[in-house]
């Protein structure tokens, strides 16, 4: 009896925990297989969507490829093309024996390309599913490729109202992230970066979705929205009285003492300033929003419509006003504010979520793939890439000279305590002065031009290199120095055979910091030095158009970040080559 109890206990403590009678390992296995299947299904659905789409389908027309195909078609008519894609379009037109390509043809070609792309992603996804079901070690790597493929689509598939195409993409990415979390295989730095990047994109769009549900959103007028603006409230109301406009949209606070409500609630209409006008405060918005001007959620309480008293009873819904002449007035409730500052209609202001503060990722990508100027012959992406390259060359010159200067200072400081104590405080002080204050002075000294930019960039570069060189050169253990002295080595020999090699990991750490700082320095340096060919000029330019077109500035920010990251990666690769197997030891 005692024995059997004991057996039961040990059996219970040894058994794998179960859920619904299924061991956790099996549950995890089949769960991941099911999730991977779901991702594949979503990819197939996306494929079908684009397989059956035409150039006019919103999912295609409003995607990044839509405007791109129109631009390509326009380019295909002209002979001299500065842009590579434009030349390609022209070539295609010539091959087809046409004067210019039809935008619909181009769009179809791009759409087929997109479907093929999805097909490839599907095939890799199937490989991932097979790997997943067999729990092989390369599962994660295969699924990572699928994730990257889907990530790229975030920049192509548009956000649409009443359309779930983009939603399916995000669900697929979310599921895939979940699978990657539990799939077998090693996690590399690259994989970590991609997973975090994908999560950030999801969070970005999720913030917009959550915000969109609670935030008031006013978009530009629809074609049916026929409006007139008046300078004063009186002028507008007079025009309503005279019948010039059928209805006026106003803030209830502005008119509550002037106009009687409809239906009257004991107020004596005759005693008001405008006895023959009524304000309608309980009208609801309909599916088209307010007069075709989408207001979400429906009709906020403070908005009223003012109509002639005689018409008041004929209005039962605000939709009836659609297409009719409507009035509003300048001032606190002006057309400009009404249309461009959605905040005046916002009850709960979640600033990060509106399209001005936080455009859709697809909108940013779309901006990159559109001409910088209307019907321009270069895409914004190409212009920004050129600017990025220009800024990078400035930054690279600044980085190189700054790193050399920093290294020499570090060597000097390491060898002379007097110099270190005397000069180091000034080196530190130089970095406490804001670069924005220094930059204009450098421009005055050296003149406006790339030279000034490089110097400003070097100014941001040299400091970390100096500090880390000094730290690295003094890093060897005293016995390592004594060992050198026991060989009667000179200071110079000790520097080159011991101190310098020992300082390399420190120096590369500083160089990685400096690489990104030098790009920032170059961008800031471009502003006062009047250099317009780089990212600084582009950012300054797009900054002034932010209110009307925020996506261009975001695109410039994206390119600036890419330039910085690319420089960082370049230095890291050099570090790996130089330090070689030492990196593993540390």
């Amino acid at each position: 009896m005692t024995d059997s109890t004991h057996d039961n206990l040990s059996a219970a403590s040894l058994s794998v925990p179960t859920l619904a009678g299924m061991p956790v390992a099996a549950l995890r296995h089949w769960g991941l297989v099911a999730l991977t299947c779901a991702v594949l299904v979503l990819i197939v659905v996306l494929m079908t969507t684009y397989q059956t789409a035409t150039a006019e389908t919103p999912a295609m027309a409003q995607s990044t490829l839509g405007p791109l195909s129109e631009w390509l078609a326009a380019r295909s008519a002209e002979d001299n093309q500065p842009a590579l894609l434009g030349q390609l379009a022209r070539q295609q037109a010539l091959v087809a024996g046409l004067d210019r390509l039809d935008p619909v043809t181009v769009s179809d070609a791009l759409r087929k390309g997109l479907v093929a792309y999805l097909g490839v992603a599907l095939v890799i996804g199937i490989a991932g599913l097979v790997a997943q079901s067999r729990e092989v070690t390369w599962t994660r790597r295969v699924l990572l490729v699928v994730l990257l493929a889907l990530d790229a689509l975030v920049f192509i598939i548009p956000p649409l109202d009443n359309d779930s195409t983009q939603l399916m993409l995000f669900v697929a990415i979310a599921l895939l992230l979940l699978v990657l979390l539990f799939a077998p295989g090693k996690v590399s730095t690259f994989m970590g970066a991609v997973v975090v990047f994908s999560s950030l994109m999801l969070a970005w769009e999720a913030a917009k979705a959550v915000g969109g549900a609670v935030d008031y959103k006013v978009t530009t007028p629809q074609p049916g929205w026929n409006y007139t603006t008046y300078a004063t409230l009186d002028e507008m109301l007079t025009n309503v009285q005279s019948g010039a406009v059928k209805v006026a949209i106003v803030d209830e606070n502005d008119v509550e003492n002037l106009i009687a409500p409809y239906p009257e609630e004991g107020a004596d209409a005759a005693a008001t300033q405008y006895p023959d006008l009524r304000m309608l405060s309980d009208l609801d918005t309909d599916a088209n929003g307010l007069l075709g001007l989408p207001v979400i959620p429906p009709f906020p309480g403070r908005l009223v419509a003012v109509v002639p008293a005689a018409d008041a009873e004929t209005y039962t819904g605000i939709g009836q006003l659609l297409g009719q002449p409507v009035g509003t007035y300048t001032g606190a409730f002006s057309l400009e504010k009404f249309l461009n500052l959605p905040r005046s209609l916002v009850l709960l202001d979640l600033k990060i979520t509106n399209d001005l503060n936080l455009p859709h990722l697809q909108s940013i990508a779309n901006a990159l793939w559109q001409p910088a100027r209307r019907n321009g012959d270069l895409l914004l992406g190409r212009i920004l890439a050129d600017s990025g390259w220009f800024t990078w060359t400035e930054a690279a010159i600044g980085f190189t000279s700054g790193a050399l200067l920093g290294f020499l200072l570090g060597v000097m400081f390491a060898h002379s305590g007097l110099l270190e104590r005397g000069l180091l405080p000034f080196v530190v002080a130089s970095q406490t002065v804001p670069i924005l204050a220094v930059a204009p002075m450098v421009v005055i000294w050296l003149g406006a031009g790339p030279a000034s930019v490089a110097v400003i960039s070097a100014y941001l570069t040299f400091f970390p290199v100096t500090i880390n060189t000094l730290r690295g050169l003094t890093s060897p253990h005293p016995t390592a120095i004594e060992l050198m002295q026991s060989y009667a080595a000179t200071r110079w020999t000790i520097l080159w055979k011991l101190r310098f090699p020992a300082s390399l990991p420190y120096i590369f750490t500083a160089l990685k910091v400096s690489a990104t700082a030098s790009v920032v320095g170059a961008i800031i340096g471009e502003l006062p030095s009047g250099v317009r060919g780089g990212l600084g000029g582009a950012i300054l330019n797009f900054n002034s158009y932010y209110v009307s077109d925020p996506t261009k500035l975001w695109a410039a920010i994206l390119i600036a970040a890419l330039v910085g990251i690319a420089f960082f990666v370049l230095v890291s690769v050099v570090e790996r080559l130089v330090l070689g197997r030492r990196v593993q030891a540390e």
């Binding site: 253990h477 016995t479 002295q485 026991s486 060989y487 009667a488 020999t493 055979k497 011991l498 030492r582």
Partner: protein
């Protein structure tokens, strides 16, 4: 004390070393040290911490200078001897440069002394074979165990054929088992190269097992209290540690150390 016969490798006459002389933190590290070392001897300096055994070694190596007294290495001032590369040094830490391969580490002194590349390589290989690491030339230091690293350090110290090997608690950081193996290895190398060794240690069994003479030192101020002649025959083998004479000598050293500490 054994009197000098022939030309001594090291001769110290009334050597004193005072740190922070004149200040309130003045420390007499060595007082009236007299010592002669003959070529081919294996001398151990033993004593509790603070007895100045490492200071004496560093005086010989010219890493610090004596406050007073007369110190000669190969009949030259230590500074001259250092410039002439008369000695090789091994520290408690192997002090290998981790960006160099094992072979490149052994070649380091040869590079500084401007040996031709081919000779450097050959010599490094020869030295690595001497310490039985012939196959590890292309490894990096972090791929070796602590004992192997210390053997590389010995190979490096011997690579330029100095007449004197200074060792500052070289096996202090190793476990007992490895340390005994390293002791055997060191004796084998010493017997093959006939180099003079000054060996700082705080281990009585190690000092007795290795040395031809054990120099017992006492702290505050650091001075030499006794010199014990170790008359165990070479080559010493594993069984040497089990001989009664070995125990006698070890006990003698232990008692001298206790006397020195008590006094």
């Amino acid at each position: 004390m054994v009197e000098a016969v022939g030309t001594p490798v090291i001769s110290a006459r009334n050597v004193n070393k005072i740190f922070n002389s004149g200040s309130s933190e003045q420390v007499v590290a060595l007082e009236n040290v007299n010592l002669n070392v003959q070529p081919g001897e294996f001398i151990s300096l033993i004593g509790p911490s603070g007895c100045g055994k490492s200071t004496l070694l560093r005086l010989i190596a010219d890493l610090i200078e004596p406050t007073s007294g007369d110190l000669k290495v190969n009949e030259k001032p230590p500074h001259r001897a250092r410039l002439d590369r008369d000695y090789g040094m091994v520290f408690q830490a192997a002090t290998l440069y981790d960006w160099r391969t094992v072979s490149k580490n052994v070649q380091l002194p040869l590079e500084i002394m401007k040996y031709p590349a081919a000779q450097r390589k050959a010599r490094a290989q020869e030295m690595l074979e001497l310490v039985e690491l012939g196959k590890f030339g292309n490894h990096y230091p972090w791929q070796l165990s602590g004992g192997m690293q210390q053997r590389v350090a010995i190979a490096r110290a011997l690579s330029f054929e100095p007449s004197l090997l200074l060792m500052d608690e070289p096996f202090g950081a190793l476990d007992e088992f490895t340390r005994e193996r390293m002791n055997m290895e060191l004796l084998r190398i010493w017997e093959r190269t006939k180099i003079t060794v000054i060996f700082v240690t705080h281990s009585i069994p190690e000092a007795v097992f290795l040395s031809s003479r054990v120099v017992v030192m006492s702290p505050r101020p650091g001075r030499i209290t006794q010199v014990v002649d170790v008359d165990l025959p070479y080559p010493r083998v594993f069984e040497t540690r089990e001989q009664p004479r070995y125990f006698q000598l070890a006990t003698m050293v232990r008692e001298y150390l206790r006397e020195a500490h008590g006094g």
